[in-house]
């Protein structure tokens, strides 16, 4: 099991090509094309990033705002396509990003379990089997039959968390700290994540807090302006990051 790569990122580059002025109607598009006014701004959100993550490694990703952390996570999750280079994943990826963003407001919590579950790629029969477990973990009780639009934001993220973590993923992507629901649920969700950690899954963890990265991760990388500037074990990388931010 050791020394098997879970994620390999090879010379990854992601280019964004944005129009200088937003042209989002056909009318504007034709007028501007005729006047030759459409100009593009190009910038590389990530450039020449290569690293590999071994199976069971917990990798901390650090960097200032706009360094390309989210772009990197989205590329690894398969949401964004790389402009150049490639990402090789082995195992199913579960991204825990903005929980419950895919809920349909009109449907009840119960219906959304199936909708959101399907989006994450779970089979219907599997969801039926785990249905009770999801509801129990989310502590929603009778609210599960109420349309999601009437949920509080805490309830939504609780449900989202419960659905997303129902499978044991091989690769887990965590963006920022999990602060889901009240103190009690927070403790519960942290315990769940810890137990996943203990099972030896691969974790990608984005954080600004060197403390958390030191505690949770064994490896870490630093991104700056889309480039990988440091890659090593978490203690030394955290030190360098503290130095970097204090400059």
């Amino acid at each position: 099991m050791a020394n098997k790569t879970a994620i390999e990122v090879k010379n990854l580059g992601v280019r964004f090509r944005m129009q200088k002025e937003k042209t989002d109607t056909l009318k504007e598009f034709f007028v501007k094309t005729l006047k030759k006014e459409i100009k593009y701004n190009e910038f590389w959100a990530l450039k020449d990033v290569s690293f590999s993550v071994e199976k069971g490694t917990r990798l901390g990703i650090m960097g200032l705002n706009g360094a390309g952390k989210s772009t990197l996570l989205k590329t690894i999750a398969g949401v964004l396509k790389p402009t150049e280079g490639e990402v090789i994943r082995k195992g199913n990826v579960v991204p825990l990003l903005e929980l419950g963003a895919g809920f349909d407001q009109q449907y009840t919590g119960a219906e959304n379990i199936f909708l959101y579950g399907a989006m994450l790629g779970y089979q219907r029969s599997f969801l039926k089997e785990k249905y009770k477990e999801i509801i129990d973990f989310s502590e929603l009780g009778d609210f599960i039959n109420v349309p999601v639009k009437n949920y509080s934001s805490g309830m939504k993220s609780r449900l989202g968390f419960s659905i997303a973590t129902i499978v044991e993923p091989e690769i887990l992507i965590l963006d920022e700290v999990l602060s889901v629901g009240d103190v009690k649920f927070k403790r519960k969700s942290e315990a769940k994540i810890k137990s996943m950690f203990d099972k030896g899954i691969t974790v990608l963890f984005v954080s600004h807090s060197t403390q958390q990265v030191k505690n949770l991760c064994d490896k870490a990388i630093i991104l700056e302006h889309g480039k990988l500037i440091m890659n090593g074990d978490s203690a030394s990388v955290c030190e360098a990051y503290t130095e970097m931010t204090n400059k």
Partner: protein
């Protein structure tokens, strides 16, 4: 349940109003209400399906930004779900036909051809429009106008004969939706078999648009996330 009832009540009510008004204006031919209903049902599937598909990528934009989902699912599922609603509403057509003493002939089985052609037409236009809608927000309003124009050029609530001999005959002749409706009426109302041109022309349009739409979709789908 109410949603299901609406899919039956809505076409029935419009049929009654259209029959009264246009029947009085243009003279009521035999089985005018069934004539209207055939056209009206097919047109509303065309319009609902394409409009739903058009907005499908943008509507699910939040999801697309979070997890990887095969993106063609959205226009495809829009075309399919509107088709299910359409299929249910066909119950009204069966009811009204029986009340009007139009008995099904063997040719009714051939109605499957215009029905499937219509689905392909909706899907191929829908996948094409869904890409454009990501980049151009005013497309929705433009398409509303276009579908309205298509409605008037589809001989839904008037008989096409006079138009077909006029200099504007091309408006009906090269309108794939009219061809589909025409074929559908032949099999359902008149107990006739399919007409050559009305069968192949809309199918060709659907295939050509579908191929263009899919190529366009696959070329552009990686950019969706930057715009939705």
């Amino acid at each position: 349940m109410l949603g299901f009832l609406w899919t039956l009540i809505e076409p029935l009510l419009t049929m009654i109003v259209l029959t009264i008004i246009f029947g009085t204006l243009f003279g009521r031919g035999k089985n005018f209400s069934v004539y209207i209903l055939c056209g009206r049902l097919m047109f509303s599937y065309f319009s609902n399906g394409t409009k739903l598909a058009l907005k499908s990528i943008r509507r699910n934009g939040r999801m697309l930004r979070k997890v990887y989902v095969p993106k063609y699912m959205y226009p495809l599922s829009s075309a399919l779900s509107a088709f299910v609603t359409f299929a249910i509403s066909l119950v009204v057509l069966v009811g009204v036909s029986l009340v009007q003493h139009i008995w099904p002939t063997i040719h009714v089985l051939e109605a499957i051809v215009p029905l499937l052609t219509l689905f392909l037409l909706v899907f191929s236009l829908g996948i094409f429009l869904s890409v454009l809608d990501v980049f151009f927000r005013d497309l929705e309003y433009i398409w509303n106008v276009v579908t309205m124009l298509i409605m008037y050029a589809s001989a839904i609530f008037y008989y096409p004969e006079k138009v077909l001999v006029s200099e504007y005959a091309f408006l009906l002749k090269y309108n794939p939706l009219y061809a589909v409706i025409n074929n559908f009426r032949r099999t359902i109302m008149y107990g006739q078999s399919l007409e050559f041109f009305s069968t192949w022309y809309p199918l060709a349009v659907a295939v050509v648009f579908g191929v263009i739409g899919m190529i366009f979709f696959y070329k552009k789908q990686d950019e969706f996330i930057l715009y939705v």
